[in-house]
């Protein structure tokens, strides 16, 4: 059962990723990416990490991708039938080569030492709310707080850069 579920989620996740890349419409791409995230959540759940699984949905699928979709839809505008965006001929190698190189390297790594060098599976309980909380608010407390400050600064920065003083007629 476990093996079946792993291959089921894994295959669907892979297909979702593939569909995301080959879609013409950016909106549909984003939807496939969400699908892929949901399958990843399934794999987390299989690894008995329920907290990570739910967080994957809540944060990535539920919050970040909604914002992505929001922005893409604002920029892309209405649906056009049969619209094609041709890529300039000279750009093809630059688009195709990096992913191909990554895939070849990955296959080579897995065929060699790869999977064995990953070590044992983490102890049960690593992906529960308590397990994650122990790490975040214990061992990695400083890093966690620093990252949140960095994010805060980024938000303030985005506001400062993005906000333009509007000349209103009555001012």
């Amino acid at each position: 059962m476990e093996g079946f579920l792993f291959w089921f989620c894994g295959t669907l996740m892979f297909l979702g990723g593939l569909m995301m890349v080959v879609q013409r419409s950016a909106v549909v791409s984003a939807v496939w990416l969400v699908f892929s995230f949901l399958c990843a959540a399934g794999i987390f759940a299989l690894l008995s990490a329920p907290f990570l699984a739910v967080m994957q949905i809540l944060v990535y699928a539920g919050a970040i991708m909604v914002l992505f979709l929001f922005v893409i839809m604002m920029l892309q505008g209405p649906v056009l039938d049969g619209e094609r965006v041709p890529i300039k001929k000279g750009l093809w190698p630059f688009i195709a080569l990096p992913p191909a190189a990554v895939i070849i390297l990955l296959v080579g790594w897995v065929k060699g030492e790869g999977l064995r060098s990953l070590g044992d599976a983490p102890a049960p309980g690593f992906g529960t709310a308590e397990g994650v909380a122990q790490l975040l608010l214990g061992r990695y407390l400083l890093a966690f707080e620093l990252i949140s400050i960095v994010l805060l600064i980024a938000i303030v920065g985005a506001l400062v850069i993005g906000k333009r003083e509007r000349k209103l007629p009555w001012k």
Binding site: S25, V27, V28, V31, V34, P50, F51, V54, M55, I57, L58, A61, G62, A63, V66, L67, L69, F70, M73, M74, P78, V79, D81, T128, A129
Partner: protein
């Protein structure tokens, strides 16, 4: 195998409860609106003269929408346009998996928990699934390829993102209060833990069965009054109900995101809205009003006095249904030949129905309910708990309707200002105060 059957029957119960509630809520909305606006409300649709005070109207609606032509705009995005209504409905239905509607029920010596999936991150699961609900709405808005629908989808997204944060913040206070409370004695064997975990909904509800200072039920609303206000406001916003129904603001963007949908696809959006209301009501009842807990009557007390309680209940049913039956028969006498068609039979049939209920309860009294054994007492306690949950559910569903027909709609900037400038600081303050108080106690 037994686990599979148990789960299947629990899912079936929840599904029937929700879909039944959807029909009842559509009726309640129309009758409630009529009541608040001093009208009669729907009273025309009938099956062989039986109108059930308008309850036949939702049935007529279903048939109309099933057989209506499905008109789609020519320039839609075909796939997303067709998926969106199903997605909205699927999300609305999958939240119920973790909501407990009783603690357990004993069947032939086995104790079966009355929740479809007792996740130990149940609360986060609800937030996660609720956040997925945005996709259906924004997909529908974009794929219809219409400026009004698109605006509706964009509004819905911005609104849901803003209020999800407030919802989560309000709930953290609740989790803080109920985490690491000792498990009630009678549930210790069943829940299998010395301390409760606030993220697990069965634990969250079990903790609300206690009494505060010996007389006040330790419901969420008692220990977290501000959290309750914030949560219920956020729930109204998440379900896109008035006063927060800007995604479909008729006066500005016609009907918002579902403007281009017709027939059963529109019906799915419509049903999903009501299913979301049922979720909202179930969540408010579960988090802040003790879920299945009957105030001052925890399971041990219910089981100890099951015989006398059941007798009192049956006598009450007999008296009330006799009164109803009498009233119906008097009306049948008074309004004889009022319509001159099949509708004249209605009061008489109503009277007969109530009479049958009264006779059934009398029959129950003959069977000596005061002497039910331990098994019967346990079953009685379980059923009373399920009943308490349903009663709370119906009340909060009515609250949604009540608010909709009483309050005007917000303006969009007011909505955003309320979410970010009022509720967010209040939620943070609530969290800090809760944490400090809990640290001192």
């Amino acid at each position: 195998m037994m686990l599979f059957l148990d789960t299947l029957s629990k899912i079936g119960f929840m599904f029937v409860l929700i879909m039944g509630m959807v029909v009842v809520l559509i009726w309640m909305e129309r009758k409630g609106a009529a009541f608040i606006q001093d009208r009669t409300g729907p009273n025309r649709a009938s099956i062989a003269g039986i109108r059930l005070a308008g309850l036949v109207h939702p049935v007529a609606d279903v048939f109309k929408l099933l057989f209506k032509e499905d008109i789609q705009p020519a320039n839609r995005h075909r796939a997303l346009y067709n998926i969106a209504p199903w997605l909205v409905m699927a999300v609305a239905l999958s939240t119920y998996a973790v909501i407990p509607f009783g603690d357990y029920i004993s069947i032939a010596g086995r104790k079966v928990s009355l929740v479809a999936a007792d996740l130990n991150v149940g609360l986060l699961y609800i937030l996660a699934v609720a956040s997925l609900g945005t996709y259906g709405v924004i997909m529908a808005g974009w794929a219809s390829n219409n400026k009004f629908t698109f605006l509706g989808g964009v509004r819905a997204t911005a609104q849901m993102i803003s209020y999800e944060i407030n919802m989560g913040l309000a709930l953290i206070g609740l989790v803080l209060v109920f985490s690491s409370q000792a498990t009630p004695e009678h549930l210790r064997e069943f829940l299998g833990a010395d301390f409760l975990s606030g993220l697990r909904l069965t634990h969250l509800v079990a903790g609300q069965g206690d009494l505060l200072w010996g007389f006040l039920p330790k419901w969420g609303v008692v220990v977290q009054p501000l959290g309750f206000l914030l949560f219920i406001t956020a729930v109204f916003a998440e379900t896109n109900r008035n006063p927060f129904d800007l995604p479909e603001g008729e006066s500005e963007i016609v009907a918002g995101y579902h403007l281009e949908y017709s027939s059963m696809k529109f019906a799915l959006f419509f049903m999903a809205e009501y299913a979301h209301m049922v979720i909202g009501a179930a969540l408010v009842a579960t988090f802040y009003f003790g879920g299945y807990q009957v105030p001052w009557l925890p399971r041990p007390v219910l089981e100890a006095h099951a015989g006398s309680l059941l007798t009192i209940k049956l006598i009450g049913v007999v008296i009330i249904s006799m009164i109803f039956s009498l009233l119906f028969f008097r009306r049948a006498q008074r309004e004889k030949g009022k319509f001159g068609d099949a509708r004249d039979r209605e009061p008489g049939l109503g009277g007969a129905l109530w009479l049958i209920v009264a006779l059934g309860a009398l029959g129950g009294l003959v069977l000596k309910p005061w002497g039910i054994g331990a098994d019967g007492a346990s079953l009685f306690a379980s059923l009373i708990q399920v009943g308490a949950f349903v009663v709370k559910l119906v009340f909060f569903a009515w609250l949604f309707i009540w608010v909709r027909w009483t309050l005007p709609r917000f303006r969009y900037d007011q909505l955003m200002a309320l979410g970010w400038k009022v509720m967010l600081p209040l939620g943070l303050a609530n969290l800090v105060v809760t944490a400090v108080v809990l640290a001192m106690v």
